[in-house]
Symmetry: C2
Subunit: 333 residues, 2 copies
């Protein structure tokens, strides 16, 4: 199969490598000529994935047309706020028979669009899927096993994704709730910021589990209001991704929450991270969606107020722990 | 309120203390005269909860009738396999107007009974509830915050439990899926053993999240076949308890799984623990229920085979990672 991977960050590079190891011809698109040259000359992308020797079948390119031309499957691994611009450029290049699977975990700021909506607005591609799961790129690069889900309306899209990526390092499960997987992937990052705050403030494992479980209930309430199926929350994109996010010091959003709780400003926390933390813009979008849909989501709202309205993490968590305890499980089922 | 707490292990002692701090008159029943005397003389139960100064309103007793007489609410915090014997003795002592909430996380070996079924078989009490959640007793004893759920068919049982236990240390959420909460509490311990194995074998956070999420799917499939509602899995007794169990070195079942993966025999692992690990008998019961209900549950089955049929943890986990990846979310919804 000819495959284009858009985005040579850590996850894009690892996915391109997995597809290359599976014997596919992979073009890995990056804007950065230095990354391209390093990868093609030395088989490495040292800043994104230290230690990984990228499969020979992966060729880095900076020309989007060159990446997309002839690709049966396109895997877009871009920051949520960058997807529209790339899709706009790709609109004249993509054809309806091509499959596109994206792995972006965010919503577009301002429009609140999910990534598959952006793809549909800017391209003629309709055979779309989304990939999401508990996938720390560095672990997979090191050869350790993981699982993920690809959701699509079309089984042939899932099958193409499986042929591309399935390996002992990555078991690819299937689903059909695109909206649910996209919203899990986006909204869980806001909860991950809250979990990072709880970790840094040393509230204990009970409190963190309470926060994450109640956060999952809030995600369920908002996501079902937006068209997701509640059961998707129990899957790899929901519970699975939250488990990793809350357990792992690797998680970007968890690290941002922890830095804020230790007294950093948001710009300092993001600068120290040096990568995109999708939960930060998503918290604002979530705040707007909560208001529009009238959902009760005190944890998501506290994260928004910490990020954008000067609430301190300690005060936010204290407020949460003083709320009356209501129903254990919410969300329409 | 007059309250009886049955069982002076770590969780029973902490719950008795919480009720005592709330101003209730609490009798804490134990079989162990030394524990009774230590608690009444020194306000401690040092073996169960080191460092806790138990509230003055808690009085330890070894006479079951003395504990139950006049108690508006009985909170049973006993090992699953011990509940029937205590209930049998309590059968002549309990009256139908008394409320009973249990916090046992297991199923009766042989009969497969849930704890509320045992209570109904052995007593005339019908106003029953179950308490379960991400609750490491030592953290609550140290004053750190937590949340839990009490589920009952009757709201007045939940309300009595809340009056008894709600505090800044323990937020009590409510539910009505007794079957679901009981099965979550029991079955998650089997998954916790698997998570402990994955931790000790250093498979990484991705693999552990995959294992736990897929384990949750298996619990959902089995629990719904037994009458639980799938959405209960997303709550504090399901996801919440699994989050703590998988993150915390305190979890007994997690420790058993880790010890087995490091090469200990089951008797040695249990002896080193020195406490009941409910997941060990539950794995056998689960194995029998899986066969009876024809549920596909490869993780629960591998734990059974490791515990009782000599499968090594490494081989069991390797088998699991080689299974074909199927649907992301299963369970009837």
């Amino acid at each position: 199969m000819e495959i284009a991977v858009l985005g040579a960050g850590n996850w894009g590079t690892v996915l391109a490598d997995l597809a290359g190891r599976n014997g596919h011809a992979v073009k890995l698109w990056t804007r950065d000529a230095a990354v391209r040259d390093e990868l093609n000359a030395h088989r490495t992308n040292a800043r994104a994935v230290p230690g990984l020797a990228v499969a020979d079948a992966v060729r880095a390119v900076t020309d989007l047309g060159e990446a997309l031309r002839g690709a049966e499957l396109v895997i877009a691994v871009l920051p949520a706020q960058a997807l529209r611009e790339v899709c706009r450029a790709a609109g004249e290049l993509l054809a309806p028979e091509q499959y596109v699977i994206h792995a972006s975990k965010g919503l577009e700021v301002g429009t609140h669009r999910r990534m598959s909506e952006v793809l549909q607005e800017e391209t003629c591609v309709r055979q779309l899927g989304v990939l999401c799961g508990p996938n720390i790129a560095a672990e997979i690069a090191a050869g350790r096993p993981a699982g993920t889900v690809i959701a699509s309306r079309f089984r042939r899209v899932v099958d193409a994704g499986r042929r591309a990526l399935s390996s002992p390092r990555l078991r690819v499960f299937h689903g059909d709730d695109v909206v649910g997987v996209e919203l899990c992937g986006a909204l869980k990052n806001v909860v991950a910021i809250a979990a990072g705050m709880a970790t840094a403030l040393d509230l204990g494992e009970n409190a963190k589990a309470l926060l994450v479980t109640r956060g999952l209930s809030e995600i369920a309430a908002l996501a079902t209001a937006l068209g997701a199926r509640a059961d998707t929350l129990r899957g790899l994109a929901g519970v699975g991704d939250l488990l990793v996010t809350c357990a792992s010091p690797h998680s970007r959003n968890h690290r941002v929450g922890a830095a804020l709780a230790r007294g950093a400003t948001l710009p300092d926390a993001l600068a120290a991270l040096g990568m995109v933390a999708e939960g930060v813009p998503t918290a604002r979008t979530t705040h707007e969606l909560i208001a529009r849909h009238g959902v009760d989501a005190p944890i998501l709202e506290r994260v928004y107020r910490v990020l954008y309205e000067g609430l301190t993490p300690a005060a936010g968590l204290r407020e949460l722990l003083e709320l009356p305890a209501g129903r254990d499980v919410v969300g329409a089922e």
